[in-house]
Amino acid sequence: MALVELRNVSKIYHLGGEEIRALDDVSLDIGAGEFISIIGPSGSGKSTLMHILGCLDKPSRGTMKLDGIAIEKASSAQLAHVRNQKIGFVFQFFNLLPKLNVLQNVELPMVYSGKNATERRDHAVEALKMVGLENRMKHRPMQLSGGQQQRVAIARALVNNPKIVFADEPTGNLDSKTGETILALFKQLSEEGRTIALVTHDDAIAARTPRRIEIRDGKIANFQNPVGQA
């Protein structure tokens, strides 16, 4: 059984009486340990796909399972729990909380999973070691470079040991050299056995992943390596 199973998923918005199909009958499997990219121009529906895959949104039609949980039937509290336990997010604009220091930012997901303070600290330090920032724990996000901030975000995404990490244009706000180190980090994480999905509009980045899914007009346009071998 695949980690993520999307079956005939549509997402329909109504805009002034007009029906917009942001996703149109999409079926997709992502297996555990895969490293895939989802690519498409802006407006193609790739963000919508990522929101649904990331359990931030529910499909209008069709079914989705993540780690065996039927997402389309879940309540918003259950979705929050799934996001907390099984999903890690990395965003284009890092999305760290400016008032918290690096350690506290990384601890944040564990605050919502009810871990106690010492556990939180241990896990957060471990995650920061993974991204090589254990000596920046007391810094504020604003005191770090973009690349460092993104690595903090990755540490935060990993800290609850999720089933899958979604990265939405993770290099979009970085220079190419720093972007390269972030991609290398993702590659390394993938080699360690984590499941990672990159969302991007950049062919060059998508080409780095073993499997590529292209979205156009809400449909999957092209499968490369549909089996998804790493």
Partner: protein, 458 residues
Amino acid sequence: MNHILNAFFIGFKEIWAHKFRSLLTMLGIILGVASLVGMSALVKGMENGMREALVAVGGLEKVRIEENDLPASQQHLADQAVGVTMADVYAIQRNADLIRSVTPEMRMRDALMTHGSKTYNSWYFAGTWPSALDMNQHVVQYGRMFNEVDDENARNVCVIGTAARDALFGSPDETGKEIIPIGEKVNIKGEVFTIIGMFEHYESEQDAKKRELAKLQPVTGNTNAPTRQKSMFGRKGGNSTSYIFTWKNSTIYIPLNTMWLKFRSAAGSNNIPDPRLSSLSVKVRDVNNLDPTIRQLRNVLMLTHHGIEDFAVQTQEDWADRINSAIRNARLSGGIISIISLLVGGIGIMNIMLASITERIREIGIRKAIGATYSDIFIQILVESVVIAIIGGAAGLVASMGLVGVLGVISAAENTPVITVSSLMLAFSFSAGVGVLAGLIPAFKAAKLDPIQALRYE
């Protein structure tokens, strides 16, 4: 539990991050709490003043029996009515076991007192028993009260209040020293009386303070400095209860038998002696048992009066009720105003919380994306609001201490405001409650934010 504690922690940090803004917001609560506590302290002070006056006239356990008009159904028996007499006194002493003591009183209105060229007409010139001392809460400061022997022998002795001394011998304000006229002779309606005792000067706490203040003021040629109030209608007259003390200070007591033999026996119409008492006062054994006591008293009197109801029983309960209702009204109106000001403070909190969540939409989006539930966000915002309110409330309690201190100084001549623990607790719990109310709408708005929209928000 861990969750809530954490929310408190986040709340404190959030408030600390916006110190000035939070302080301004809290100010509304601080003022609300301070005004609530201050108001209740003022009312408490007022209540104390009123109770003081109630105690000064003998307290709740004192019940007076006075002559009264007959009820309409007994009008035809008017010529059989004997009024309140010594027979009633003895009957009550013998038969009414719920009564602790009885004091008869025979008053005279035109008792002009003279000493040298000075005269004094007392408000309250009465012949009575030595037990009047206890009955009316009198304290003999100088000399002594007349006793049973003086009464038995109908001696011409009197115990006076300070008002009589002030009029006949000079007040301490005028002479600069306390004159103690014990042993002096005065003339009352042609009879020579010896002053054997003088009561202490009665005054309300409020008047005492006034006097202290007047003393402190430098005497800069102002000769008509405030003096003790001399008349019931004199000057602006302090508060509504100060006349009690004025009236009490003008008291002059002589033995009942002296009154009877020297003045009353010859004073009736057509020189027929008038045996009627002006009133008689009793003290009940147990104030909590007042109603049965009154019934017993009534039964005894109905017997001695042969069923003719020519008397009235007056308790201080009406007065106590009036005090209570006055206090209740003051508390209610003051409370409403204070609660409105607390609510205004609450609106301030709500306003700032709404502004704060608008600033933090992105943060809320991030928190939701990484797993915060609806209730996590709801509790966080609500707790923040409550934290502002309770910090404000605590600061308000401190401020109220200062406020009450200032009130005490600027209105030094009024009753001292008294802070009660219950008012502090009430004000504090109200501020916390206002914090909860003020936080509900912002918390609801924040919690229902859609994470996708919130993350896109710039």
